[in-house]
Symmetry: C3
Subunit: 363 residues, 3 copies
Amino acid sequence: MNTTSFPQNAWYAAAWDHEIKHEISKRTLCNKELVLYRRTDGDVVALEDACWHRLLPLSMGKLNGDNLVCGYHGLEFDGNGRCVYMPSQETVNPSACVRSFPAVERHRLVWVWPGNPALADPDLIPDFHWNDDPAWAGEGGTFYSLKCNYQLVIDNLMDLTHETYVHAGSIGHEAITRVPFEVGHTDREVTITRWMKDIDAPPFWARQLGREGLVDRWHIIHFQAPSTVAGDVGVAVAGTGAPEGDRSQGVSGFFLAAITPETESSCHYFWNFVRDHHLDDQRWTTELHLAHVNDGNGVYEQDVDVLEAQQKAIERHARTPFYNLNIDAAALWARRLIERMVDAEREEQPAVEEKPVRLVSRS
Amino acid sequence: MNTTSFPQNAWYAAAWDHEIKHEISKRTLCNKELVLYRRTDGDVVALEDACWHRLLPLSMGKLNGDNLVCGYHGLEFDGNGRCVYMPSQETVNPSACVRSFPAVERHRLVWVWPGNPALADPDLIPDFHWNDDPAWAGEGGTFYSLKCNYQLVIDNLMDLTHETYVHAGSIGHEAITRVPFEVGHTDREVTITRWMKDIDAPPFWARQLGREGLVDRWHIIHFQAPSTVAGDVGVAVAGTGAPEGDRSQGVSGFFLAAITPETESSCHYFWNFVRDHHLDDQRWTTELHLAHVNDGNGVYEQDVDVLEAQQKAIERHARTPFYNLNIDAAALWARRLIERMVDAEREEQPAVEEKPVRLVSRS
Amino acid sequence: MNTTSFPQNAWYAAAWDHEIKHEISKRTLCNKELVLYRRTDGDVVALEDACWHRLLPLSMGKLNGDNLVCGYHGLEFDGNGRCVYMPSQETVNPSACVRSFPAVERHRLVWVWPGNPALADPDLIPDFHWNDDPAWAGEGGTFYSLKCNYQLVIDNLMDLTHETYVHAGSIGHEAITRVPFEVGHTDREVTITRWMKDIDAPPFWARQLGREGLVDRWHIIHFQAPSTVAGDVGVAVAGTGAPEGDRSQGVSGFFLAAITPETESSCHYFWNFVRDHHLDDQRWTTELHLAHVNDGNGVYEQDVDVLEAQQKAIERHARTPFYNLNIDAAALWARRLIERMVDAEREEQPAVEEKPVRLVSRS
């Protein structure tokens, strides 16, 4: 029975593509410990990081060609998790295997499906094309093992009111708390749209626009269940038609967030921020990266401080309900869509009580 | 239901008065996390340290005049805990508030009442007048988050036999273990009296008395439930009438201890030691402070080593009963008075099972 | 009821003889915290490390002759655990005592019996005579608080197939995984025998034999329940009759392992490796010691890395069964013998629910 806050039947970002080489790496995703490596043909292998025999992490072993050899007794597994060698035995137990997980590279990320492999349709991978679209440029990063439930990050991104308080001085602006917003949703997506017209551009955007003065600013944030957010954000010179679709007098960015549950109380947060201007200028790439992550002073690091404190507070107040404000509308819809996915899995999977098995039976 | 070892309806020392300024501070008291600050009119505010909205500690926010602003979404609370601002809303939910706790300054300490505010009668604040009585001088300190249940500190102070073993060389004297003692009690107080006549003064007291030779020494220790101890201690030249009330040939001190539960297994120990001699001589103040706390060599630091080790032992031996000696009579009465307070609260407060509330309901 | 993985009625190595002096030391063994010291007559005392009165560890006290004095209130206990002094009392409660454990020195180790003292027959102490037999020389060591269940160490020693993978380059040899082996057992012992004939000597043995070339190598490993292993290992020039009993053209060693449960998830591993050659040459003693423990590069340290990782994996996969290979035959018999001992104790000892006792009763 799924008693977690995240569905199992979904694609989750497990790593950046450049992280996975023809060598052993490991990562925990949805409470599952994985060993990851790239085969010589370039495909990514994701196996359960525990030997079939005595549970030693296979990540302590070594590669033998495209196979993985356990560091304790030498059992060898192929990229599908099937055991192909056992020491001191002529035959290999045909049921001996470790679990293998579907893994697909797309848009610079490696996506892994922790649930039922038969349902792992690559068409369900979230659209993160901005990550490798030549019309956009940027360089993101990752917060590994961020100490909060992944939904707190989604809450954070689906209501940018907090910019005014958490990010005053860079992207914050009190207009965010004043203007109306619209929330829409489908079965898998939620969108919140906020237009702030005729406002002073906050420093982050004034710098990109290259001029002072009044702007029309937009936040158009798309959530795709269960754990990705793509935010269309930017400013244009006020009154030049951006709300109606003409962004020619403006600059745009997308923030791309893949938030992968590690455990119930931690997650990996793969982020990027891409821009549509100065595409070939590495100085802009560096400057915008540092706006987000910069030795504790970046806006995402400010969020991390809040998110981790919030997680601790939730754990201490286990029985306290949250109360909601109007601004939580989009976050609540995101939670509702996730909850539907989790509930659907709960109903499909009857509760099977796994029994602990003693290592030897009575003789 | 009160399942803790401490009553909620009591005044507990939360801080020294000089610790609380017109800025945010925080402290945990009786398992409750508090944010503390002084208003511009000088009064002390004690609020629950968790925003009504999403539980972020309010101590991560900032003051706006006498109000407290949450650092995540900007909700603003007045000194009574009432929410007076919500972002993106014209009206404020009238039920939105955080819990406010009665707080009173007296005798150099800030006392907080974690229980039912309607019962918070300032007349119940323990008498610690020696802390700011010009007839007495001294400078104490605090052990924050001392890693033991607060009752272990009370046990320690209500039987000074341990001085012989824990504090040999300063205040210890084997006479303590020999002479008889008397224990009296009321519904709220316990007193243990021990007179050691015609003994050599231990070094700590010989130094204060300013002479060698035989003394009559006294320990008259008052406990007031649930968590304060005031000890009248001193020596006089032997045979000059101190037991009968004439202390003119002696020196007196009071140790003042307010032991505030932080959690079941930790406490804050606010202590002072005041003297009735050399009132204006800072060197004596410093010397007597250092006798108690001095880089690990003070007598209170010796106690802390024992108390924290005892707490760990109790946790490891959860089911082992304590056995009692004659010397435990006063400590046992103190425990009994506390237990009556806790039991009375347990009976008054019917067990209400708080249910965890999901953040969103099923749509 | 015994719910642990180890029997209580057994001799366990608690310390090397040279570790116990006429001063206080402490160690946890089978979940029992002990204070250990040597009396002036040379006998070793093993007492429960918690004062009868208020549970302070007696190891924080001091010796008074052959008695142990508590560091809090001065209660004094003799070497049998009987309280012989209480402060401020003329009479000592005759039931006041701390538990005393049978302790015997043999073969350079101090063995303690944590179970029923009436069953503590010294004849049951495992035969470790090689430790102080002048026909053998070597110097071992201890891994204190090794972070794994003690049975994992036994598993490790009862199947040396892992040498090929964990100790490649020193004692590993792929022949180990190829040759057949025999397993025998009695009610208390398991033996696994493996002969590897006509193989290249691995470096560790070639160096001891003093020549290159083909050898006959043997592993004859004896387990004695519940927690000791003595391994007869060595090589002889191939074809000179070692399998038939003539080791005159070879060198022999014994590894001696006493693995004492500290808790369910940790153990103390007392080890030695002794040789039958170059008995008086300290350089050989040092060299063979360093082969086993050498700043992280010794073969036993390689085992420790695996064992601790395996323990963590088992804890994370609490409900995952182990699967077995042919090579596990001896380890499984060892586990079966241990399990019989534990089960026998479980049946003998009816479950007694110890109740927590409040420090004071209601008045």
